[in-house]
Amino acid sequence: MIDPVLPGADSARTPPPAPVRLSYRDAVREALRAALRADPRVFLMGEDVGRYGGSYAVSKGLLEEFGPERIRDTPLSESAFVGAGIGAALGGLRPIVEIMTVNFSLLALDQIMNNAASYCHMSGGQLAVGLVIRLATGAGRQLAAQHSHSLEGWYAHIPGLRIVVPATIDDARFMLAAALACPDPVLLFEHAALYNAEGDLTPGLAAVDIDHAAVRRPGHDATVITYGGSLPKCLAAAASLAAGGIEVEVLDLRTLRPLDDAAIVASVRRTRRAVIVDEGWRSGSLAAEVTTRIVEQAFYDLEAPVERVCTAEVPIPYAKHLEDAALPSPERIVDAVRRVVGGDGSG
């Protein structure tokens, strides 16, 4: 696992407190713990969040600490507990709904899309749905076609929702608080392949925004635009390209709706080349949307056609060797960067 923390993030601060090293999973758990401590209106609800410890053991220990009123196991009814989350938010609480994985969110799609996303607008501003839904997402763990979806781009299609995607330890630790502070419904996607990633929390950091993209590695030859579970792959590709003298800028979108167009366009204007890495399927993908925005806003700055590295448009295979072949990989990212930088990599 590649360390997804921004290199050099803690530079030039005096005196730096000792860095805290933790896993992405622990960072999310700390975020939940802090939110539960800070606001009595906050509670966590979902399938197996209690004694089982939640999806990927994120909520382990929270039942013991906060009790069953605030760490609430639900019946196996996604539509019910997402709908109840909407109702609880309208009733004055700040629910965090955990949908075990994004795959199960499809059973609650009507609640998310036709209700959470539109209530505030359709009630003339009366009913703001201050709901945060956390979802594990993504492939790479041999869970086969029905348990490996990356649907962040899909959800980013829906007006009224904010889609945030923590890819670093800092964001895993602090994005939840920003999401809870946001009056809109927020879907927070945690890539399953990141939970075991370890990194240092930036010393002194107490909050992050959910408005801006972040440059995770500066460079001038091309911009690699990505988010979530693909960030470590992009950083690995960038390191490998640097060894060959190609310096790419890696831009972590962080928030998929609304997209930070300014950051995307500013970086592409600097590097004049773009590769978008998105674990979603290519057709109709978030990568397609980012490409379009680049073409709309920075077309005359481009030196090469935009490249996309996406997941093969197939149901995600169960077998390891097939799953690996279907997903974006550092090698495929390197190949794409070489194509945009010069012919097919010779220059």
């Binding site: 086969a144 093969a312 448009e313 295979p317 077998a319």
Partner: protein, 359 residues
């Protein structure tokens, strides 16, 4: 106030935990050869299941959902069905599938990550393993609708776990099946646990069988560790459905002696004592006791059977492990009748990624 209508839920047991008959046994249970056939199938399912878990533990199989403790329910369902009926399982019904002619090699192929395992050589019309929860109940209702429209004397059987009965799809399936008197039987395999959530936390309903009442269809409970009771109740429900009498819900009360899947550790959320208590009620033990009392079984025969099961399973495992793994082309197979050009390009790219042979 006056009572408009009253309901009750009945419970059927034919074989107690000590292997004694309860009430009058149905004809199949009075035929020792038939009982032996079911016992052998239950034993084979258990042995196969243990082997599959071992294969997963040694990295030779993907995540696997054990059926330990469910053998009577699985074989009782299988034995009640006709070959031409359609079975829509969850992901745990190894016993029923083996009974209906799905091969061990196919089961291992699937859980090893090869979708060809779901292309059953035996029951061609049976549905594949269903990992999404409760969706198969609607498919079974739809298959039953097709049989009814075509006036075929066939039935569909859907299994579903206790947790699955909280899903909207389950209620919708019961409702549509009842409203249209479809020839389908819903077998609720209540094993006590939906991953970490016990039935008592899943629903305030005293039984899951009573969920049938709101749909206007019959529902009953059976001892799911009693292969006689499961088969008898399922047979009656299937004959009723076949005769135009509509659907039935059969709730089989059993216990998940294993973890939820090989990715779970149930000791995190339930006590060893509870599991030990449940083990005393498990289904093979009582069937064996019944056969011993009838003079049809002894330790030597048990040893022979286990050795025979091991031989069968080892041969299937060897066959499975020797099977060449699929090339990257396989992930594009059967996606469209004619693969669109852009996806054909992706197929070529995947070959390049994997090496020229696609491996």
């Amino acid at each position: 106030m006056r009572t408009v209508i009253e309901f009750r839920v009945e419970y059927l047991q034919r074989l107690d935990p000590d292997g004694n008959a309860v009430g009058e046994l149905p004809a199949f249970a009075r035929d020792p050869d038939e009982v032996l056939r079911m016992y052998r199938a239950m034993t084979l399912a258990r042995a196969f299941d243990a082997k599959a878990v071992n294969l997963q533990r040694t990295g030779q199989l993907g995540t696997y959902a054990s059926c330990l403790g469910h053998e009577a329910t699985h074989i009782g369902i299988g034995a009640a069905m006709r070959a031409e009926d359609v079975f829509a399982p969850v992901y745990r019904e190894v016993g029923t599938q083996l009974w209906r002619g799905v091969t061990m090699r196919e089961i291992l192929l699937y859980w090893g990550g090869d979708e060809r395992g779901n292309d059953f050589s035996g029951p061609r019309a049976d549905f594949p393993w269903c990992v999404p929860i409760a969706t198969q109940t609607l498919h079974a209702a739809g298959a039953a609708m097709a049989f009814k429209i075509r006036r075929e004397p066939r039935c569909a059987v859907a299994t579903i776990g206790d947790g699955g009965t909280s899903e909207g799809a389950f209620y919708e399936a019961l409702n549509v099946a009842g409203a249209r008197a479809l020839p389908v039987v819903f077998a609720v395999v209540n094993n006590g646990w939906a991953i970490s959530v016990p039935v008592a936390a899943q629903t305030a309903a005293r039984t899951l069988a009573q969920k049938a009442i709101a749909a206007g269809i019959p529902g009953l409970q059976v001892d799911g560790n009693d292969v006689f009771a499961v088969r008898e109740a399922m047979s009656a429900a299937l004959e009723r459905a076949r005769g135009g009498g509509g659907p039935t819900l059969v709730e089989a009360l059993t216990y998940r002696l294993s973890d939820h899947t090989t990715a779970d550790d149930a000791s995190r959320y339930r006590s060893a004592r509870e599991v030990d208590d449940a083990r005393a009620l498990e289904p093979l033990l009582r069937t064996r006791r019944f056969l011993e009392k009838a003079g049809r079984w002894n330790a030597d025969r048990e040893r022979e059977l286990l050795a025979e099961c091991a031989r069968t399973i080892d041969a299937a495992v060897a066959d499975h492990l020797a099977a060449p793994r699929p090339s990257t082309d396989a992930m594009f197979d059967h996606l469209f009748a004619n693969l669109p050009e852009r996806i054909r390009e992706q197929r070529i790219a995947a070959r390049r990624h994997a090496g020229t042979d696609g491996h």
